[in-house]
Symmetry: C2
Subunit: 210 residues, 2 copies
Amino acid sequence: MILYGYSMSSASYRVRIALCLKGIEPTLVTKQLRRGEHRHKDFLRLNPQGFVPALELDDGRVLTQSLAIIEYLDEIHPEPPLLPATPLERARVRSMAQLIACDIHPLNNLRVLQYLEGPLAQTPSTRDAWYRHWIEAGFAALEQTLGNDAARGRYCHGESPTLADVCLVPQVFNARRFSVDLCAYPRIVAIDAACHELAAFARAAPEKQT
Amino acid sequence: MILYGYSMSSASYRVRIALCLKGIEPTLVTKQLRRGEHRHKDFLRLNPQGFVPALELDDGRVLTQSLAIIEYLDEIHPEPPLLPATPLERARVRSMAQLIACDIHPLNNLRVLQYLEGPLAQTPSTRDAWYRHWIEAGFAALEQTLGNDAARGRYCHGESPTLADVCLVPQVFNARRFSVDLCAYPRIVAIDAACHELAAFARAAPEKQT
């Protein structure tokens, strides 16, 4: 199994966390996004989107899209589970993961920032305001969801980490990198801290990648 | 069951298709996004994000995020299935759905277009070029995935519609609305046409909503 990724890619970071939680150790191949390595034709043959992460299985099949990869890993290696047992709880966890993976992260990834600075000729400060804007909108809603719900626990959903935490921690990392003020999101900050106490989250962190 | 939605919201459209495929008929409540009805505090109590779709169950619980809602519906009403039987096939279908739901649609939704026109002071023509840019990038990769794969069939994956088709049809609707030239994506166009032959897809279309 080969994981094509990049230390600072938050979608890659999600998959690294899931792999560490599952105790799976693939070969890691880095694609330096800022050098455009993901646009090389050999990689585009594996993933026509040219995105990381991409997970190449031993038979050569390639899985793309971080959430699809993580649900696959959860299905073939069910322990520890990254989704709860009931359909309703699974919907809650998936919706928190998707709040991040659909409504925050895609607006802030490298190709979008490059479009803002290139074709739209925006300044770095306008670009950074854009970046923070979508995190703040998403985190405000997520904080309320986390705080209000009956399932409130140590992590996003209950007492063990799920797909939602796997998405949250890389997004908090990005928020800090762009100096988002996290004071308004105490539940998010507490859950992020709880996750960082787990070896799997610590090992998957960008600064631990070579 | 109450579905809060909006005829032109493509995430609502996805959930309408899934409900029609499953033969479930919830009460439909329209939130006029352009009038800001989704920002009223009564609705924000149901969904802190203030987004449609939101699905209120008979016990008052509310599910958000279209893909999470659809997977929930697929779990509680398994027939006809919207995901294939094996983990590898499910990963393929989910990745195609997420290519649309993460990498195209969030960049083009109303709040983002409003940010481009408001804080970033972009013209309608620059806004429309942005809109088309992300569809074209996503469709180019999706077309290749659809065309190359062994699982090639009448729909995105095989001979019955899945979560991937449920996401594709509303995205093609949006592409046509913004005059994207679809000539380069014959597989996408053919799959969209095959879907429109099914009553469930036809009934869920924006123009069929009151």
